[in-house]
Symmetry: C2
Subunit: 716 residues, 2 copies
């Protein structure tokens, strides 16, 4: 299916949910405390543009609207039904809707999969009804769905309906937690950002998190697709969507909770979904170019910054302040998030100095002193006049701003013109005090596309994420297209993969070899004489290792001899290892003793694959030995990976410098690492159903070349 | 001087600043825009308890107060003069004050050391005047001083004077940034915390940051001494004060800014190059038990938590929530700050389950579901009733709370009684929305000593710091008193410390040996024959190293041979090293070739000393090799250190596990590491004036024992 068709399909399918021509409120009520009343009131007060049909068995009129005894009785077709009924009425209501040709429904009721077995059964029945009648469902166990651009306030929650609407509505938001979602909606609105769509997906019996993201990506009114995620059920779809989002420059900004182990536990019990390990999600988000929001404030701040329609050209940042202390603090914040407070050139400094008082400082952070905040606010424009022409500056942050200026202040108009006509990214922020969310001057700035974000919303953290997003966007749209794709053809190794076994080192190595991954020269000897012959063929010194699928940890059975120098020592080592292995594991199936080339010293790394319950095969890369065990300095990506992913996996390591050369040592052969990562990716892609885990540990990298010194593969 | 005398002295000296009986406002003005008027108004509106004397050459009355033409004309003695005059009048005014016996003065004017040379000269004159007349000065270049308990609003800043005062005032605050201080004062007040003292110390011509901290520690009204610090001029005093503060359980909570500035310096030693200003401050704060505030919110939140008069008994935390999503998020937050969300016992869970709905969850985080937030707020008390009796729980966090309850709500009264009668630490927080800073129920909680901190103030981060503080307090008052002090007597090594030199390895090792630090068996040979004799005495295999003060990095001149096995090889190595060193450094003064014991493999660590411009000698500890170079996994403490400091330095390392044993390896001899750290501390304490830097790298630790394998000492 072409992308265009997909777009249409998805948009058409969810249109009855987001843009219904008519809505039936099932369980409408005259009792002002009931959901059935609150929902009706929300639609009326929200000014919903289509028809609203309260459904009630007896009432003639509720809230001044004519009532109908069933969905079938309404004068026109019903696009969307909102079920404000209790758990025990949901099924019959849904069937009634289906029979009457309703296209979509929202189910608020709880008591489904979140309560366990019994609820899962009931939820599956809802699913069947939806499939039978080709209805799209939101919920159950949800807070509802809003489209603030057409008055569709599909919710009973006063937390959502009582919030005044802001002017710009270009950010969509989907949430797996109703309560957290409502709070985020309110907080965003308080900071001047009203979501155009708000969707609480609840138990996701039909429409899931990624379905809503997809709708928002295809929707021309939406500029940012944001969400709160506990566990994605369809990561493959999310990945495809993320790729598309990068192509069309529409950021996906997602807060993934459950970072901690206990958090993951809670997530699992909360929605019934499986929250994958946080590190894997982190790798996946990076790989997919999804902006990972640390908290609700990132969703708000990032969106506000992105809606300015500028992306910073780099990380060089100038801070303009009226307080030395504030300047230092913002500097700390910028540098901790990876923005650079660069020294200004003498030329730029002297140009700024011309128009600011002598006691002010033109060094970055530029300190206009209390004079600017109290008596001479017009000073704030002076550094801007100069910096818009500084080729070394990418970002200008005003840590304070004259809040009393308004749209009639000429200097504010001039300020805005300067901002509009430069590619420098300009952010205005302030120290967070109550009651100053939208002072006059900042409202005027925002109306003109210059972002104002209060300090407590972590604007600098979000700004750094916008720079990262810009890089991901550029990579996806320029670099990656020209990068060679992974072209390892599929090898026939089916015969090397017995079912549900831990393979011996030599079996594992054979598989790696088949995919072109260099392994040690080796041969498995079953007799002393054979061992000597192999040792001479390979060349001294050699290593002897017990080869058995039943002994994955050879050191523990004293099953390895390093640096064996001659025939006599080979014979002795052969006997000793055999004896020791038999003593430790009397029942082990010993294939023989593997005679291997003794490798010279290099940098030890580890490449692994594990099968994640959410993401499937996931590739890991790290430095070997204690680095992986103690420092846990590893990176993850979901298979298959691209060349760029492989590069990112190396660069992400804290110990990357060890690969790039340190202490007079040369860089190692990073191309060889990339090659192994891509080959492992190809292998696991080709045999995902047959391989459970791979460990290449250690993989030894040299200045030139790479060798897998040991390997362990477990089949399914 | 005894501690008691010191207390009295310090309190008496600064009393005229904080508790003057009378204040003269120099430069009083009738112009309502002038500082001289604003200051007068602030004192009157603040309800200052003593006499206020406006000083003006001509006016008879300003703001309804009789005016005086000079300080000498006032009816009573003047304790405090506030100088609301311009730069050019400050000196004459100060002299006038001095002549009239004024005891203290506040100088707002700027144009002093902050503008450079000229200003420094002017500032020194102020200092001289203060000394001459025995006057205590605050400023210049400051925002002023407040004592909100007696109406002393010594400031012109409307930012400070217009803020409504809260009831409890037990936290003092001193700031090196006026503007940042004012903002913090306002923000704290908005969150229900009014500082009892606010001091902007400006350029600190007389009264400095630590002087104010000292006053607050001695002041019985102050329970927390907090501050904003850019750079301490008297760290030794701060350290003494911190020790005293821990003794009297009065936390010092200090935000130290400038984390990113003054990065590592170019230095000959590893230690010198790794010692960034911020890392040293960090070590110093930990060592001294000073709570390091990350931002203004930590000052506010930590203080509010501490004022509850409880310190958590441990890290085991239970979260009570009405939203699964919120529960997951707070769990993430707790675990990222080192609090443990522990699994509740079956017994506790079943007790909780008895009184909550079946669809709620009694697992930690305890999810009471939307039922609690909407229809059944009384559910919030149920888990508390049970948890106060759970021996495994230390902390209970309510991530939401029924905000509409008030002091007349019986269940809130019951809630408060439960909190009051348990040693569990209880924190009530909420998602941060505007306009809910002090809802009724939370005000009642706070009135009863139960802390409420809104989510945007990072209460969980501060809570974790309170746990750390509790540990530091216990260590300081129990453990450390019984710990053996460092008893290495001073050795006479003056003759081993030539002035301003980089010492050779053997010279450096001799100094370490003198202080009882094990070094390799070694002797410096000047001839081949001697080398052979030494090698046989030491025992094969040996190491040969060039010994020259001019060659600190021996590897670079190919000046080291490891694992030399016999006489013949010793001779050859001797010749080669000599030749290579001469070739690389023709002018180097070569003492000879050092013959040393070849050490067996162990764990390499590094111990170093550098002289910091602020703190003096600072001791560094880290893992050796790439760990220090790539991962920069090191810890710092200011000399002298205690045994506890040495233990903390090890435990602080990310790679500490390598010392405790990993991968079937035994733990190394950590007692030996502690011993070396304490001996190095003694050495640098005894010879602080003569030693600039020390690097012991590597220091090799075994399961039993330790040896300094190489050393570098630079003298002053």
């Amino acid at each position: 299916m072409s992308m265009v068709n997909e777009v249409l399909q998805s948009t058409i399918e969810l249109d009855p949910l987001f843009s219904p021509r008519s809505i039936a409120v099932m369980g409408a009520s005259e009792n002002t405390n009931k959901i059935g009343y609150l929902q009706l009131k929300a639609l009326i007060d929200g000014g919903f543009e289509g028809d609203i049909y309260p459904i009630h068995p007896k009432s003639k009129e509720i809230a001044n609207l004519p009532c109908y005894s069933s969905v079938g009785d309404t004068p026109h077709e019903v696009d969307l039904a909102i079920l404000c009924v209790g758990l025990n009425q949901v099924e019959s209501c849904l069937i009634e809707c289906g029979e009457s040709g309703v296209k979509a429904a929202i189910v608020f009721a709880s008591g489904y999969s979140e309560i366990g077995e019994e609820g899962i059964v009931a939820q599956n029945r809802l699913k069947e009804i939806a499939v039978q009648y080709n209805m799209r469902l939101i919920g159950p166990n949800c807070v509802g769905l809003l489209n603030t651009t057409n008055g569709l306030m599909g919710t009973f929650s006063p937390g959502l309906t009582l919030v005044p609407l802001g002017k710009r509505r270009e950010v969509g938001f989907v949430t797996q937690s109703g309560a957290f979602g409502v709070l985020t909606y309110i907080a965003a609105a308080q900071h001047g950002l009203t979501f155009n769509y708000f969707v609480s997906v609840g138990n996701e019996v039909d429409v899931g998190f990624s379905d809503v993201i997809e709708y928002m990506l295809h929707d021309p009114k939406t500029k940012v697709a944001s969400g709160y995620l506990e566990g994605e059920k369809n990561p493959e779809k999310l990945r495809m969507l993320a790729k598309y989002a990068l192509e069309i420059n529409k950021p996906m900004v997602i807060m993934k909770s459950g970072r901690s182990s206990a958090g993951s536990r809670a997530a699992a019990s909360h929605t019934g979904s499986l929250a994958g390990a946080d590190q894997i999600y982190d790798g996946f988000f990076k790989q997919a170019g999804i902006v990972r929001a640390d908290d609700y404030d990132d969703i708000v701040s990032f969106s506000k910054l992105f809606l300015s329609n500028k992306i910073p050209t780099g990380r060089n940042t100038v801070i303009v302040t009226s307080s030395g202390g504030r300047g230092i603090n913002e500097t700390d914040r910028c540098e901790s998030h990876g923005l650079t407070i660069h020294p200004l050139s003498d030329k730029i400094k002297s140009q700024i100095e011309k128009n600011i008082p002598s006691f002010a400082s033109a060094s970055n952070p530029i300190d206009l002193t209390a004079a600017a905040s109290i008596t001479h606010p017009e000073l704030f424009i002076e550094p801007l006049k100069v910096l818009v022409n500084d080729p070394e500056t990418d970002i200008i942050i005003f840590s304070e701003f004259p809040l009393h200026w308004d749209e009639h202040t000429p200097i504010l108009q001039e300020f805005v013109e300067l901002c509009k006509n430069t590619d420098k990214f300009i952010l205005v922020t302030t120290f967070p005090l109550e009651g100053m969310s939208t002072p006059k001057s900042t409202q005027y700035l925002e109306d003109n596309g210059i972002p104002f974000v209060r300090g407590d919303m972590n604007p600098i953290r979000s700004l750094a994420k916008l720079v990262d997003y810009g890089e991901a966007y550029r990579k996806a749209n320029v670099q990656e297209k020209h990068a060679p794709s992974n072209e390892t053809p599929k090898k026939n190794i089916h015969h090397l993969l017995p079912k549900n076994q831990t393979l011996s080192e030599s079996q594992s190595s054979e598989i790696l070899s088949a995919y072109g991954i260099p392994t040690t020269k080796r041969a498995v000897a079953t007799t002393e004489d054979q061992a000597v012959i192999f040792a001479n063929e390979i060349g001294y010194p050699v290593v002897l290792k017990v080869d058995s699928p039943d002994i994955p940890h050879k050191t523990e059975v004293n099953g390895i001899r390093l640096n064996v120098q001659n025939d006599e020592d080979v014979r002795r080592a052969f006997q000793e290892i055999y004896k020791s292995a038999k003593e430790h594991c009397p029942t082990a199936n010993i294939h023989g003793i593997s005679i291997q080339q003794m490798l010279s010293e290099g940098v030890e790394v580890i490449v692994g694959v594990t099968n994640d319950p959410t993401f499937g095969p996931v590739i890991m890369f790290g430095l070997g030995g204690v680095f992986v065990e103690v420092f846990k300095d590893v990176s993850f990506r979901v298979a298959p990976i691209t060349r760029q992913d492989a590069i990112d996996m190396m660069e992400e390591l804290k110990g990357n410098q060890l690969l790039q050369g340190v202490r007079n040592k040369h860089a190692v052969d990073t191309e060889a690492i990339i090659d192994v990562l891509l080959k492992v990716s190809a292998l696991i892609q080709d045999y995902a159903d047959e391989i459970q885990e791979i460990d290449i540990n250690p993989l030894i990298v040299y200045e030139d070349g790479i060798v897998a010194a040991d390997a362990l593969i477990i089949t399914t």
